[in-house]
């Protein structure tokens, strides 16, 4: 049986603490929500269940279509998010690469080039003003 504090995460059993934590989190939140729902007072009048809008009577529908500019921001976020994914394998291997003199600069240059392309894209996005918030 592996120790729960084993740093070497090469098998699935090392994820047991994370699973225990997830179970604890879900159980804790579920218990708290259920407790407050059961023990809390409930006064469901029509005025109370109305959507809160700082005392002003609400009008219209909240489901109005959003502008496409939000979507552009979201897509750019996804691209940079995927970029971060590629750093994980490099970060995990960083020490072994740095110890190997033939690999150290080669891999570093590869990552630098990878980031360089993203910097070009970032400069393009900034220059185009794609992140500028306008109506």
């Amino acid at each position: 049986m592996h120790s729960l504090l084993n740093i070497n995460s090469s098998t699935a059993i090392n994820y047991l603490p994370i699973a225990i934590q997830l179970i604890f989190v879900i159980g804790f939140i579920g218990t708290m929500l259920a407790l407050s729902a059961i023990t809390g007072p409930k006064r469901k009048t029509k005025d109370k269940l109305e959507t809160f809008a700082s005392g002003i009577e609400h009008h219209g529908d909240a489901r109005s279509p959003m502008a496409v500019k939000y979507f552009l921001i979201a897509i750019l976020f996804v691209l940079f998010d995927v970029e971060v994914i590629f750093f994980y394998p490099y970060a995990v291997n960083f020490r072994t690469f740095a110890a190997d003199p033939t690999m150290a600069w080669k891999t570093f240059m590869a990552v630098l080039m990878f980031v360089g392309f993203f910097v070009i894209g970032f400069v393009y996005v900034i220059k185009k003003g794609a992140l500028k918030w306008e109506d």
């Binding site: 897509i75 995927v82 994980y88 995990v92 990552v111 894209g121 393009y124 185009k128």
Partner: protein, 173 residues
């Protein structure tokens, strides 16, 4: 039943129930939340198969980023009561029949596939899917595809900006 089997059956039933809830939910936002639950269950499966990189990518990219895109698509569409899709019984029946046919084809294909018959999935062993192993391969043998993928991201970025951003100079002329 050992621990891994119990976790497997729990994750599988959780994934299937969540996937059914994606379809059953009336509110599209609830569907997206159930889809996140499906992704978490699949990530658990990846960890059981020792594909840890895939598990992390699945959580960060799919449960994190792609779900944001889904939410934005839902927000962009006008999902009012009056624009609901039609609820014709015949269309529902046709959908159920065609979906059932697809399920039948998939099940029969899996049953006929001799490559996977009587084989067991490697659970909790093997180090091909570990982040460290993947990094070693990625930065030694597959450096060129790695760089090409960044060019792909660059082109995606340019494409998104060109399509999504209205050109102010073009409008002024």
């Amino acid at each position: 039943m050992n621990l891994i089997q119990i976790i497997f059956w729990f994750l599988s039933s959780f994934a299937v129930i969540s996937a059914i809830m994606v379809l059953v939910s009336k509110s599209p936002v609830h569907s997206v939340l159930w889809l996140i639950a499906v992704f978490f269950a699949i990530s658990g499966h990846y960890i059981l198969l020792n594909a840890q990189f895939l598990a992390i990518v699945n959580l960060i990219v799919y449960a994190g980023a792609i779900m944001v895109l889904f939410l934005f698509v839902i927000m962009m569409m006008n999902l009012n009561k009056d624009t609901d899709p039609q609820k014709n019984i015949w269309i529902k029946l046709a959908g159920a029949v065609s979906g059932g046919c697809l399920l039948m084809v998939l099940v029969s294909l899996v049953k006929q596939a001799t490559e996977i018959n009587g084989k067991e999935a490697m659970l909790g062993k093997g180090d091909i899917g570990l982040i460290g192993t993947l990094g070693k391969v990625l930065f030694t043998d597959f450096v060129v595809p790695f760089e090409i993928s960044s060019v792909l991201f660059l082109s995606a970025m340019v494409g998104a900006v060109v399509i999504g951003k209205k050109d102010s100079k073009l409008e002024n002329n």
